[in-house]
């Protein structure tokens, strides 16, 4: 009887809490890489920031990256230290998505220095909102490193693609994507603020 109870009690040991591992079995680093793509608010903010930066040319992309990378690193470090997970940052990311999406739709060219701030803002929010949960220091660091790499690569590639979209139909496609992103972010932003 005692052995049976012991075996049963062993079964009750909780398994590892994978708060930020959207796909099991691929390891913390690769989960981290996929994290910005699988969290809708992160993906939307990244895509729309990349589109608006690309639409405004190489100067805007460069400034955006220069603001984004250090702020993302800072946000991830703070999140890893446990300072980033308590505040709910999704509304701020959605607001950033709405603004970036509207700029894409209107194809308005804001002053270039604004892209430092836009990149830094989105990077910091993304980093802070990517806390790895209750992981041991090693896997947590791997997850954060993966998240940083995934987010920056995504911004890099999409901004480049957006910059290359120069034909009329390609610019129209960007506007359409901007309107879709803005509409989705507006609805969920409204859901968070108004429905509450």
């Amino acid at each position: 009887m005692a052995r049976g109870v012991g075996a049963g009690a062993l079964l009750c040991l909780p398994t590892i809490a994978l708060a930020h591992s959207p796909m099991q079995g691929i390891g913390e680093f690769y989960s981290g890489i996929l994290h910005p793509l699988l969290v809708p608010a992160h993906a939307l903010a990244l895509v729309l920031l990349a589109l608006v930066a690309g639409q405004n040319g190489l100067g805007a992309i460069r400034r955006c990256h220069l603001g984004f990378l250090p702020a993302l690193a800072l946000g991830l470090v703070l999140a890893g230290l446990g300072n980033g997970s308590e505040v709910k940052l999704e509304p701020a990311l959605l607001l950033a998505s709405v603004l970036a999406g509207l700029l894409v739709v209107l194809q308005w060219r804001p002053p270039l220095p604004l892209f430092y701030a836009a990149g830094a803002g989105v990077g910091l929010l993304l980093g802070l909102d990517s806390a790895p949960g209750d992981l041991a220091p090693g896997p947590a660091a791997a997850s954060l490193l993966g998240t940083g790499l995934g987010a920056f690569t995504c911004l890099l590639l999409l901004a480049d693609l957006s910059e290359r979209a120069r034909r009329h139909w390609q610019r129209v496609a960007l506007r359409v994507l901007g309107s879709w992103g803005t509409a989705s972010a507006t609805l969920v932003f409204a859901l968070g603020w108004l429905a509450a």
């Binding site: 809490a17 930020h20 099991q24 879709w180 509409a183 609805l187």
Partner: protein, 195 residues
Amino acid sequence: MPMNRLFWVAGLSLLLASNVQAHSAADIGGGFVSGLLHPVLGWDHVAAMVAVGLWGAFLGNPAVWLLPVVFPLVMAFGGALGLAGVPVPSVEIGIALSALVLGIMIVLAARPPLWLAGVIVAIFAIFHGHAHGTELPEAASPLAYSLGFVIATGLLHLAGIGFGLLVRWPLGRIAVRAGGAVIALGGMVFLGNAI
């Protein structure tokens, strides 16, 4: 194994902790697919969305892309009104009217000024958005759901634009106007049901 041991093990197994997933892929995927299917499963939405694309193609550049860009933006505004609990009178009638009016516009090959076409589409987008917005809180992943239905809406516009591009040929023009007539007839049926 004696029965009492079996009960112990079975009972304790029920307490097994499962993995915690803050961003469950199933929730996100399910929310997205559910949102993607939502506009497609309502014939009144389908008819109106296709009509926006058809009319845009009929009006030519820049209406062909401007109307499908305006629609989701104003639809989001309508959705926000729905979420805020701001009442929009006769939402179902408005949705039915959107199919009827846009269908008639296509049948008549109406070419109003671009701003007027934009305003007409925007007014109807508020009704569609209001209907979607009130259903949003039930979604498992609201953002994935809203992305799904906005993309589905856009793809329905694209289907309308694709069909509408036939207006370049005389026979195609007749086919597009016939398509508008079918949409207008559908709108009359929806209106009858809504009233």
